[in-house]
């Protein structure tokens, strides 16, 4: 368990929220419109703050305060939000998002648990050289896997690609360096990367540098609305498992 920050009244101007308004366990979607849906299962979920793309909802889960904070798209936005939340005292983060497929035979209703990420971006280079691995925390990933398994949802665990350009993946032939992009995508498919998104590697590298725990779970583009409900249930169960396991390890 990482050490907690004891001061209670720090305020973040970027998120317009104070440290006593958020919990220690945080879900991080990208879209502000998805925040109320993810906070639905929490007891007493209510909006704490709203500024630009950062919407914060807080509620209770098994007696512990948990929050959902939307980050916006891209690694720079994720880095800003994450640094602010770490400064305010949070220690466990789960990125909940959508992604595109890379492998040919992926079932679109599967959930992808990102155990590590390919750092195809430049934000995390400011924290660690490119040889440093962007890898999730073992406990958070195990909680997500156990939750998906206990709820009998189809899931895969693997490495995702964190890119900086959405249209570089969706329309590579329209880019100037299209040949290089197509080659890169071929390399990613051959090395077995599962999905393509835009924030996870920065989350993992910054959480390694700041000694907090992070994990990620993705839906695939082209999935049905049922998948959003599934991923909400998996995240809620994973947070419950983490809360209980943390309480047990603190006691014993």
């Amino acid at each position: 368990m990482p050490t907690l920050i004891k001061k209670a009244n720090l305020h973040s101007d970027i998120l317009n929220v104070s440290s006593n308004q958020i919990g220690k366990y945080i879900l991080l979607p990208g879209d502000p419109a998805r925040v109320p849906f993810l906070a639905g299962p929490f007891e007493g979920a209510h909006e704490e703050a709203r500024k630009w793309t950062h919407v914060t909802y807080t509620g209770l889960l098994d007696g512990q305060k948990v929050s959902v904070v939307s980050t916006g798209m891209g690694c720079p936005a994720m880095a800003t939000t994450l640094e602010e939340l770490i400064r305010l005292g949070a220690h466990t983060f789960i990125r909940v998002g959508t992604s595109g497929t890379i492998q040919r035979k992926t079932d679109p209703s599967d959930l992808i648990i990102t155990w590590a990420a390919a750092r195809d971006e430049r934000t995390s280079l400011r924290y660690q050289p490119m040889s440093f691995p962007a890898v999730a925390d073992v406990e958070v990933t195990t909680a997500l896997m156990d939750a998906a398994h206990d709820l009998s949802f189809g899931y895969q665990v693997g490495i995702s690609q964190s890119k900086d350009a959405f249209y570089g993946e969706h329309d590579p032939l329209g880019m100037i360096a299209s040949h290089a992009l197509l080659e890169k995508q071929k390399i990613f498919e051959r090395s077995g990367l599962l999905c393509s998104e835009m924030e996870v590697s920065t989350l993992f590298v910054i959480s390694a540098v700041r000694s907090v725990r992070a994990g990620g779970i993705m839906m695939l583009g082209g999935s049905k609305p049922q998948t959003l409900e599934n991923i909400t249930r998996v995240c809620t169960h994973a947070l419950k498992y983490l809360i209980h396991r943390d309480m047990e390890s603190q006691r014993g």
Binding site: W115, P133, K186, E189
Partner: protein, 264 residues
Amino acid sequence: MTTKNPFSNFVYKLYSFNLGYRKFVCWWKNDILKKNQYHIGLRKGEGSVNVVMVETPEQVRQIAEYYRNFKVLADHREYLSILIHTSTIDFLVISTGIGTPPIAIGMEELAIIGVKRFFYLGSCKSLSSLLKEDEFLIVKAAIKEDGTSREYLPMIIPAVGDVDLINKARSAFKDMGISFKTGISLTVDLDPHHLPAQIPLQAQYEQQIQVFKEGGALAADRAAAGIYAVATKIHRLACCILRACEAESELPLPLIKSLPAVLS
């Protein structure tokens, strides 16, 4: 990956056609599967699905002395291989020598003869006060500062181990009361215990160590990134367990006893 433009889809399908694993490329030389492999001296059908890789042949003999039901398979170059039978599981034990190049060669050839799960028992130097002397480190991912991993994977793709094997090793160690940590290891191509004090680029090495320590690296070793990079390329599962001690030292008895639990 598909786009809305059907021409783009067609071009991408043509571009991403690839021939697959090397035994199909060399189909006219299919005795690659019937002959002994060039370096390790084993052939398809020998060995088992699980392999435990260690550093020296002395460590292989140490494991063989504990599990007395064993059979020596081959002894070429650095690779002394024996097959061990226990009541729960059979596994292959092979020595690989020091450094990532012979480990990569061994893993490629073992994959051809049918091994699916790779475990490595090695040594490292602790970089943090969290990892004490003679404690174990289960490597969840490795920093790729060595050469072999860059040949296998581009720099942006991480060298990570398999979650299920790591969790199995953690629970086996917890049940046996062995103290361990789980974390990131820095893989370099020199002996982290002795060489850094004697090389010309010592200042650069020390500076890099400081950067990686801030990222949370717990140890410096010579194997983990190569193992995980090769495992990603050959599509097999791997797990690396390092002990914070000098290289080529004796394996402790609790570790040898825990091998069936870690492998099952």
